[in-house]
């Protein structure tokens, strides 16, 4: 479904991704973790070309993302993305947020778009808020609307870029619940997150990145959490720190 082949990226002379390669199969849930500055967010954003890369190949469902001739808006329209800071469109109501891209990009009728959007809103449990503006919702609610917005486009894969790290602690759960149910339904997902509980529960694989943009580990969840002796010292150190608390 998704394949990265030796992807490297630089900001000027500063290297943010260093020869990253991985594959994600249909239905897999891959969690990407690592210290800040390790290029996790950059890596996930290269998949829908929000961050261009200088070297390597990226394939999404047979489409070459690295190819300048690729119709990127079309590709992005079926790759769902959820951001750290939600990024709902603040001047539109919840319903408009859910329908605008369906109408303008997928060319669905407003009726059809509304039906689909509200179904997704129902699924994240926010039907009561359909006519509110994003600024009137809590962070957790905004993030669930953002997930519903991405789902309304019938994505073939969902990318999550630290979806819970800007949330108050008591709101993390409601967002993770939605993500877990998505994963259990077989959605292909790639999640940058520090929520190791989520990784343990639903991840099929875990990727660990280290400063300098290198993929240090790329293994099954069982291996990652259950077999510490096979891990790199850097990974053990990181896991030790975040699992202590």
């Amino acid at each position: 479904m998704i394949e990265l082949k030796s992807v490297s990226k630089w900001y000027g002379s500063f290297q943010v991704l260093d020869d990253c390669s991985t594959r994600i199969e249909k239905g897999e849930v891959v969690v990407v973790c690592g210290p800040s500055g390790s290029g996790k967010s950059t890596l996930i954003k290269t998949i829908n070309a929000l961050e261009p890369v200088q070297k390597g190949e990226i394939w999404v469902n047979g489409t070459p993302v690295h190819d300048p001739k690729t119709d990127l808006p079309k590709l992005r329209s079926h790759v769902g993305m959820v951001f750290q800071h939600f990024e709902l469109f603040p001047h539109l109501t919840v319903t408009q947020n859910l329908t605008i891209a369906q109408v303008k990009v997928l060319r669905r009728s407003l009726d059809e778009a509304r039906k689909r959007g509200l179904k997704m809103l129902e699924r994240v449990g926010l039907m009561a808020h359909k006519d509110k503006f994003p600024g009137q919702l809590s962070g957790g609610q905004q993030q669930r609307v953002a997930i519903a917005r991405a789902l309304s486009m019938d994505p073939i894969v969902m990318l999550f870029d630290e979806p819970t790290s800007a949330l108050d602690p008591e709101m993390v759960g409601e967002v993770l619940d939605v993500m877990v149910s998505l994963a259990n339904e077989g959605m292909t997902m790639m999640c940058v997150t520090h929520e190791m509980g989520f990784a343990r529960k639903v991840a099929s694989r875990v990727i660990f990145m280290d400063v300098g943009g290198k993929i240090l580990e790329d293994c099954t969840k069982e291996d990652f959490f259950g077999n510490p002796d096979a891990r790199q010292p850097r990974t053990k150190d990181f896991l030790g720190k975040i699992l202590q608390h």
């Binding site: 990127l72 808006p73 790759v79 991405a150």
Partner: protein
């Protein structure tokens, strides 16, 4: 000092006071003249405003386009040119220099040239506001627009510009009021707008105080009307739950 407001009812040729203050059968009183001059002021201002808004939004937008060095440079050059030359000098440039370079423009009236001069001058200022409005938005908004499949144009049309516009309404209000006030420089190329009227009527009647007070009143009424309209617009487009910038615009 005795004020003589009756002078507005005088005929402009024979200086006799006319019944009802308005001239009949082609005669005109100073009041007629002043209202027509006000009409010119309003026409120059509104047309220049339209031009300034269109050009300003386009130039301001292209200065924020990702990965297009040349449009950004063009936009920057535009702003610097029109912002760094005094308005009055720009009016004269349009009147004397531009037609000398482009002979086709020789037949253009002073009115058109003033609209162009004032419109482009103000477009540079509006472009600067549009640019800063767009750049003030969280960077993620552009990504969010792109991520749902919007093209660059759609991202601007449906996400960035509507939000940037809401941020810049207060400075836009100032700019709109400025256009009305700046339109007074049109007298320099003989457009018979309010300031031109004031200078001539003062000379003919010697009633400078009354003339300038009346003209000042009309400028204030015009600018204040614009201010009210913009405040209304600002209220209409306010988004619930979003921090509203200063309630009343204009300085």
């Amino acid at each position: 000092m005795a004020w003589d407001w009756q002078m507005f009812c005088e005929d402009t040729l024979d200086r006799t006071v006319r019944e009802g203050c308005f001239g009949k059968d082609g005669d005109i009183t100073y009041l007629d003249w002043m209202l027509s001059a006000w009409g010119w002021t309003v026409s120059v201002s509104l047309l220049a405003l339209l031009l300034a808004l269109v050009a300003g939004v386009v130039i301001g937008t292209i200065r924020t386009l990702p990965d297009s060095k040349w449009t950004v440079r063009f936009g920057n050059a535009w702003v610097e040119v029109f912002r760094n030359i005094p308005l009055l000098v720009q009016i004269f440039l349009w009147y004397h220099v531009v037609p000398a370079i482009f002979p086709a423009m020789k037949s253009m009236s002073g009115f058109v040239l003033v609209v162009l001069a004032l419109g482009f001058f103000t477009s540079a200022r509006i472009a600067e506001q549009v640019r800063s409005g767009i750049q003030a938005l969280p960077r993620g908004q552009r990504h969010a627009g792109m991520a749902v499949g919007f093209t660059t144009w759609q991202t601007y049309r449906y996400v960035l510009l509507p939000n940037a516009f809401r941020i810049i309404i207060p400075p836009l209000t100032s700019e709109t009021m400025n256009i009305f006030k700046n339109s007074s420089v049109a007298f320099a190329v003989s457009v018979t707008e309010l300031t031109m009227f004031a200078m001539q009527a003062q000379e003919e009647t010697g009633r400078g105080v009354e003339v300038y007070l009346a003209v000042t009143g009309l400028y204030i009424v015009s600018a204040f009307t614009i201010n009210r309209i913009m405040t209304f617009v600002e209220k209409r487009v306010r988004v619930p739950g979003l921090a509203a910038p200063g309630a009343a615009g204009g300085h």
